[in-house]
């Protein structure tokens, strides 16, 4: 019998100015004197603010604030905390605009706070459907434009809220969550366009990036990451495979304001074993260069072809100006989930391969073709149908979605990496059922193995992207590292990501651990820095869950003496120097 045929009959994009789905409760709001967000402010953000996912459009994750520095960071102390009231992975950066902080949490919640005192202005709580199911129930943040903010929800809507009151201004349905379509990313705002991308690769969706008018939520364009019939790249797919080919756009893109080009990371192909979708499978495991006005694909680079390892390349590459081989390179730097540290060159019409090297050990690649930049696969470690195949690193890759950072002061790239993890699975042909997992293997057959005798797992690495040299590394003996990195002009690197609940600061030049603070839960969020009335603050969400938890559970079953219980539950932590 055919299941739910009537559910397959199409998607309706839906715009509504008076949604019944939201509830808001003002506590000490509304906010007075809100500073409207303009294109100019986003393109050249004040050092005191953190208004984009990685603070600046180039995705570097760098704050120019330096009041907190290597000599005084030992005096960093919590100044306020705020419990979010929900469990699961808290992945969003606290977004700060002139003293107002907006925090997105799992469960479709946004909290507006006084960034100096921690007092609540308002809270938006989305009423999510009971039958919602995703592998990644989280949110990576809210985008700002003029006097509104924008949330992409796990039930696949984009919602605009009034920044001063939290009231819903518009609510647009993007696609149908029952078919496995959802969103977890922080929208990228470019010139009044709210740009989002779809999650759900594990459900056999067809990925896309789409833009909505910030004023009224009308869809302006939608570009599929898997090209349809007649589109360039379609011939890299066979038969009907493209219709459910994956290529989710899980994460926020970066933006080159000079050439007006968005760079967006694209996830792996579905289902996992490449044998089930022969071909290069454009544009999976790639970076797309998009025109923000039309969504047109200007050019692309595919990091690896015919993905079979679940190696999403969803973090957008950082835009960094480098001096290499005696010339200035406008580069794209991407430490990949495929274990390769990629350096590419962006030109208006083309992305050039410059260099690549493994930043953790891998048995999958024999090398990279120096002409084309195509990695050369060892077939012995490429998963296939009907046979168990093992490979290193594991399906979580050398570095998953948590962001790397680049310090303009040290010129180094800081990578949250994982070493000594391998994995494997047996490919299996299974029919696709919309809204149900479609991995191409049995979930119970997926394994995470630690290498025998491994003395550590997580690694915070510092690389010189000019020379390709690793400058320092800090090892975490009993934990994975699954949190985003932020660098500051105080020559500090902040990161959580370990199962001991610690938040840490390292010397950006030497890698010396300078400060750590135990928090309520494990941290998988993104550290940010901001300034109010002459005081520099560091903020982070602590709240363990999603893949950090999955790795944790898998580690525990490896019986290697890893801490079994990492408590869940979200808290926003804000730190400043002791007065």
């Amino acid at each position: 019998m055919t299941r739910k045929q009537w559910l397959l009959s199409g998607f309706v994009a839906f715009t509504c100015l008076a949604s019944t789905l939201a509830s808001t409760a003002a506590v000490s709001g509304p906010i007075e004197n809100y500073a409207p967000v303009t294109a100019q402010r986003l393109e050249n953000p004040e050092p005191a603010n953190w208004m984009l996912y990685r603070r600046t459009y180039d995705g570097q994750g760098y704050s120019p604030l330096d009041q907190i520095n290597t000599s005084n960071v030992k005096n960093l102390t919590p100044v306020w905390t705020f419990a979010t009231g929900v469990v699961e992975g808290h992945e969003a950066p606290p977004i700060v605009n002139n003293g107002v902080m907006f925090v997105a949490t799992p469960m479709g919640q946004v909290i507006a706070l006084n960034a100096k005192t921690g007092d609540e202005y308002w809270r938006y709580k989305r009423q999510l459907p009971d039958d919602l199911f995703q592998l990644h129930p989280t949110s990576r943040g809210v985008g700002l434009w003029e006097d509104k903010l924008y949330l992409a929800t796990t039930d696949d809507h984009v919602v605009a809220l009034d920044a001063k009151t939290g009231k819903v201004v518009w609510d647009t349905k993007v696609q149908d969550y029952k078919k496995g379509q959802y969103m977890t990313l922080m929208p990228l705002i470019v010139d009044g366009k709210v740009i989002v991308g779809g999650s759900g690769g594990e459900f056999g969706v067809r990925g896309y990036v789409a833009a909505y008018d910030a004023k009224d939520g009308k869809e302006l364009w939608r570009t599929y990451t898997i090209p349809g019939e007649g589109e360039p790249g379609h011939d890299t797919w066979q038969g009907e495979d493209w219709k459910n080919g994956g290529g989710s756009a899980w994460m926020t893109g970066n933006y080159d304001k000079d050439t007006k080009t968005i760079y967006w990371g694209v996830g792996n192909a579905a289902p996992w074993p490449g044998e089930m979708h022969p071909g290069d499978n454009l544009y999976t495991s790639s970076v797309l260069a998009l025109d923000p006005n039309t969504g047109k694909i200007k050019t692309y680079h595919q990091y690896h072809q015919n993905d079979s390892w679940d190696w999403d390349e969803v973090e957008a590459p950082m835009l960094i100006d480098l001096q290499r081989d005696g010339r200035n390179i406008k580069s794209l730097v991407h430490p990949g989930r495929d274990a390769i540290f990629w350096i590419l060159e962006r030109t208006p019409t083309k992305i050039n391969y410059v260099a690549g090297w493994p930043f953790v050990s891998t048995d999958v690649w024999k090398g990279i073709d120096a002409e084309s930049g195509r990695p050369i696969v060892d077939p012995a470690h490429k998963p296939m149908v009907g046979k168990r195949v093992e490979f290193c690193p594991s399906l979580w890759g050398g570095k998953d979605w948590p962001s790397a950072a680049y310090s303009q002061k040290t010129g180094l790239v800081y990578v949250p990496a994982n070493e000594n993890f391998c994995g494997g699975f047996t490919g299996e042909k299974v029919p696709l059922k919309p809204g149900e997992l479609w991995l191409g293997t049995k979930p119970e057959d997926i394994g995470l193995k630690t290498k025998p005798g491994a003395d550590h797992f997580g690694e915070l690495q510092a690389w010189d992207p000019v020379t390709g040299k690793k400058m320092w590394q800090h090892n975490f003996p009993k934990s994975q590292l699954f949190g985003s990195v932020t660098a500051t002009a105080g020559d500090l690197v902040f990161v959580g990501g370990t199962n001991d609940r610690n938040f840490r600061a390292f010397n950006a030049k030497s890698g010396e651990l300078l400060w750590e603070q135990k928090t309520n839960s494990g941290i998988m969020g993104m550290p940010v820095s901001y300034e109010i009335d002459g005081t520099q603050y560091i903020a982070i969400q602590s709240g363990w869950g999603v893949d950090a938890q999955r790795i944790q559970d898998a580690l525990v079953t490896n019986n290697i003496g890893i801490e079994a219980n990492v408590p869940q539950g979200g808290v926003i932590w804000v730190f400043a120097l002791k007065k």
Binding site: A18, D131, G356, E444, Q568
Partner: protein
Amino acid sequence: MSRASFNTSSSSSDNTAESEADACTEQTRRALLMSALATTACLACSTQVHAGEDAPGSDERPQKGDLLVFSEGDQEGKPVTAAALSAGGPPVHAWPKDPKTSVVRSASRLNEILIIRLDPAELDEQTKARAVDGILAYSAICSHAGCPVTAWVKSDVGDKEVLKCMCHNSEYDPRAGAQVVFGPAPRRLATLPLTLVDGSLSVAGNFIGKVGGAQPG
């Protein structure tokens, strides 16, 4: 492979679309029927508009008198009979079906059910009282974060097979009312009371216990 090395030297990219995988001999995948996108805008509306409607009753919870039908495999859509279940597992996946309207209640994933047949001697007293010839029905939705419970594997903490959710490794013992024996799940799987009608399984009452995860995603 002289050119095949990890390098730090420059060269230009050539993104030729060239397949390195073997050709798939068989296209077994079901094609999805997807119609064109429709856009509806309104200024003040209180209900959502769907292009495709669920059949009436298809998202209601299982009702007394519903038949249980296979939700997957060769027998998909056919009634689950006691004779089709081998003792000791693995569980089969099923949907409730309204015998009067023939509507399968598959529009909500919260209706997915695991049916398992066990040796009655292995069941605890309460579970035995709920079983019919050792047959039990549980919600297939994990009480942790709502993933589907997919596996029937040896427990990480015991020597018996358990129902396992692979999202975060929660394990449930079907011999003891699907109580949690390992992992982060906060409570047991909901039980669906059963009865046998002419050898086929039928729903005898509402779910006992809460269906679904602790919080939706």
